[in-house]
């Protein structure tokens, strides 16, 4: 009887999990399906699910009209650069907060997080003017710095949480063995926190990849990433749904593939502690 209950519960949980998963994935699936329809089929009522004439014409048009590889390269550089720079800045900060906390550490952490609550548009003009002054408008390096600063609170918070789970005695032992601060962070702390650092990198890479406000407002033709590529296919006057879907699919494909191959590390890093 107990086994039957367990089996039923497991089956129920599995069905529930799959249903939620499919529900969350459905908009992406619909986008991918729409990208293979004609513009007429894309707006058909009732909507066409699988029974339509599949076509690659939207991909051909998008490929012909836009330099996809340039946008992709920019996205990789901006998302990758901002994430790595963020890690370099955040590891010492998180170490300090986790192992040498002061009276104000918690306040600082909360203050850092509170900066995420400020609407981005509120600082658009000051940042735009600074960018003009420094010649950073429409440059990848400018976006790397801005996205790093925007995501820094999250990176510091995540690393701080992982570092807190590492027993400080291990670091003390390293210090007693004569390790310098640099060696302690590089050769003792970092290897132990690898799963946490990896999941932090992955999550922030995804955040930077998807960031649309700053990447649209601080770029023009040269440094524009895939968010600008997608925006160029959206229109309030004219039907571009199928082409927009093809552009969206091309823009999310790299991050979907990355997420698929790194899901184990991502889930492990997010659900377990650093030393579990």
């Amino acid at each position: 009887m107990a086994r039957a209950v367990t089996f039923n519960r497991k089956t129920g949980n599995t069905i529930l999990a799959w249903s939620i998963g499919l529900l969350i994935f459905f908009p992406i699936l619909w986008t991918i399906l729409t990208s293979f329809k004609t513009e007429g089929q894309a707006i058909a009522d009732p909507p066409l699910f699988l029974m339509f004439d599949w076509t690659l014409e939207n991909y051909a048009i998008v490929q012909e009209r836009s330099d996809y590889l340039r946008f992709l390269t920019n996205s990789i550089i901006i998302a990758g650069g901002s994430t790595l720079l963020g890690i370099v800045v955040a590891v010492p900060a998180a170490w300090s907060m986790a192992f040498v906390p002061s009276k104000r550490t918690k306040d600082i952490l909360l203050w850092m997080l509170s900066t995420k609550m400020l609407p981005a548009v509120g600082v658009l003009y000051p940042i735009y003017l600074i960018f003009i002054e420094l010649g950073l408008l429409d440059t990848k390096i400018g976006l790397v710095v801005v996205l790093m600063l925007i995501n820094l609170p999250i990176i510091v918070w995540m690393l701080y949480t992982y570092f807190r789970e590492i027993p400080s005695e291990i670091l003390e032992a390293a210090r007693m063995d004569g390790a310098s601060l640099r060696s302690e962070i590089l050769y003792v702390l970092t290897p132990m926190a690898i799963p946490g650092i990896a999941s932090t990198i992955l999550l922030n890479f995804i955040l930077a990849w998807n960031e649309a406000f700053w990447t649209l407002n601080l770029t023009a033709a040269k440094a524009a990433p895939l968010t600008a590529f997608i925006a160029s296919y959206s229109s309030p006057e004219g039907l571009f749904y199928a082409k927009l879907s093809a552009a969206s699919t091309m823009a999310i494909a790299p991050i979907l593939i990355l997420g698929w191959f790194s899901q184990k590390q991502l889930v492990r890093g997010l659900t377990f502690g650093a030393v579990k």
Binding site: I132, L137, E237
Partner: protein
């Protein structure tokens, strides 16, 4: 050996630098629509003729508006040409943010050339893109709004569409054409919130009912009868004959409904005519008729006027190259180029008088009605009662976009059945007066 190599590298570098300096590149911010995308496809021809390279930044209309506004107000210099509309042009021109393209009195080296024939631009377009008689943007294409209707459904209803119908006729025809069992709505109109979406439609419609946004002292007039008449008529007709959920329908949603044969009539931008008559995308391509936007007999019709135009931001380092591009893209020759490659139905409409004198173009079914609609729109005299602003579906003041977006949200809430007409108008009155007071108009 090292010396020789160094010399070679230096020569190569200087050659590369001088070539780069010769090949000037301009950056253009534009919207994503059929005519603009088509123009991008022909850019190579401009580069061949002039040696000037062109980089495009294509964005969705609202994103573009925010992007170019940020850049021009901060003198960012990210763009050498901006695609802007009739709303921004006179305001930005007055602020000195745009390079004058053509002055009535003083010509300078940056003005459009004689060969460009600036007098060929349709007067309504030229007026809407000027400030104090100076042209600040060249129209790439222009549009008004008109009625597109199903000739077969109209005949089935036993009615005949006049060339210039009244709103009463439209409501009557919409009711007669509605066939809920076959999913046919008598009329499809914009209800979506946003000053350029539902806000534009209801403002243009209100002109024909005798309403206006402001009296001569910049007081809001939503507490007056013409606005109540407009909104009550619109809501009554749409509830009776419009599609379900029209509160969220904009241009694209209605285009989609019309192309699938689910609308008897659609009143919207004249550029839609080429979409609904294109057999590749429209199931009703051969059954579409056109008429002027309706009126109520008060002397003003409910059509609007708009142009997407190319302007040069003041402060760009590439003013001459930018001017060359604008001359090319908005010239008669460009229209002929598109006609030769893609047919007369696909040329950018509504900008030049000569296009409508061309016998090849007058054969296009919607050409004459588009011209009539444009000619019947007067942005300098858009309301029955006198008003202090320029513009038909907008008031050309910087505060309008923000105010009208909020007001249109209140109106959309009425369409969605969330509040009454009276409540929405009272809120609109307060929103507008407060904003105008804060801005120093009252």
């Amino acid at each position: 050996m090292i010396r020789k190599t160094s010399l070679g590298v230096a020569v190569a570098l200087s050659l590369a630098t001088s070539t780069a300096a010769l090949a000037e590149t301009i950056t253009i911010a534009t919207v994503n629509n059929g005519d603009m995308i088509r123009m991008q496809g022909y850019t190579d021809q401009f580069t061949q003729q002039t040696g000037i390279n062109v980089e495009w930044v294509t964005l969705e209309e609202n994103v573009l508006r925010q992007r170019v506004t940020t850049d021009i107000t901060t003198k960012g210099g990210a763009f050498d040409i901006m695609t802007i509309g009739m709303y921004e042009t006179p305001i930005w021109g007055a602020n000195g943010w745009l390079v004058p393209l053509h002055k009535n009195v003083n010509f300078n080296t940056n003005n459009l050339s004689d060969a460009y024939d600036v007098d060929d631009i349709l007067p309504a377009m030229r007026g809407g893109l000027s400030h104090d008689g100076t042209l600040y943007a060249a129209p790439f294409y222009g549009e008004s709004s008109m009625i597109m209707y199903r000739t077969d459904l109209m005949a089935k209803a036993g009615l005949k569409m006049p060339d210039a119908p009244t709103w009463d006729f439209i409501a009557k025809a919409a009711k007669a054409m509605t066939d809920r069992s076959n999913d046919i709505n008598g009329i499809c109109l914009r209800g979506k919130a946003g000053w350029g979406e539902g806000g534009a439609f209801i403002t243009a419609m209100s002109n024909s009912f005798g309403a206006r946004w402001f009296d001569m002292d910049w007081n809001a007039t939503f507490d007056q009868k013409p606005w109540a008449d407009t909104l009550n008529f619109f809501v009554g007709m749409m509830n009776e004959s419009g599609p379900k959920g029209y509160a969220t329908n904009g241009f694209n949603e209605n285009l989609s409904l019309f192309q699938q044969g689910k609308c008897g009539m659609w009143i919207d931008a004249t550029v839609a005519a080429s979409f609904v008559t294109n057999p590749k995308d429209s199931t009703v391509a051969d059954k579409v008729g056109f008429a002027l936007a309706p009126d109520t007999g008060l002397g003003k019709r409910s059509n609007w006027l708009w142009a997407w135009a190319l302007a040069i931001p003041a402060g760009t380092q590439k003013e001459k190259a930018a001017l060359q591009f604008i001359e090319w893209a908005t010239s008669k020759e460009y229209i002929e180029l598109v006609a030769a490659k893609e047919g007369w139905a696909n040329v950018p409409p509504g900008a030049r008088t000569s296009l409508y004198e061309n016998p090849n173009y007058t054969k296009v079914p919607f050409a004459q009605m588009t011209l009539d609609s444009i000619l019947s729109a007067d942005p300098n005299n858009s309301t029955v009662e006198p008003s202090p602003y320029v513009g038909i579906q907008f008031a050309a003041i910087p505060e309008f976009a923000g105010i009208a977006t909020q007001v249109s949200q209140e109106f959309s809430a009425v369409y969605a059945g969330q509040q009454s007409v009276e409540e929405a108008l009272a809120k609109a009155q307060d929103i507008t007066n407060e904003a105008m007071e804060a801005a120093g108009y009252r």
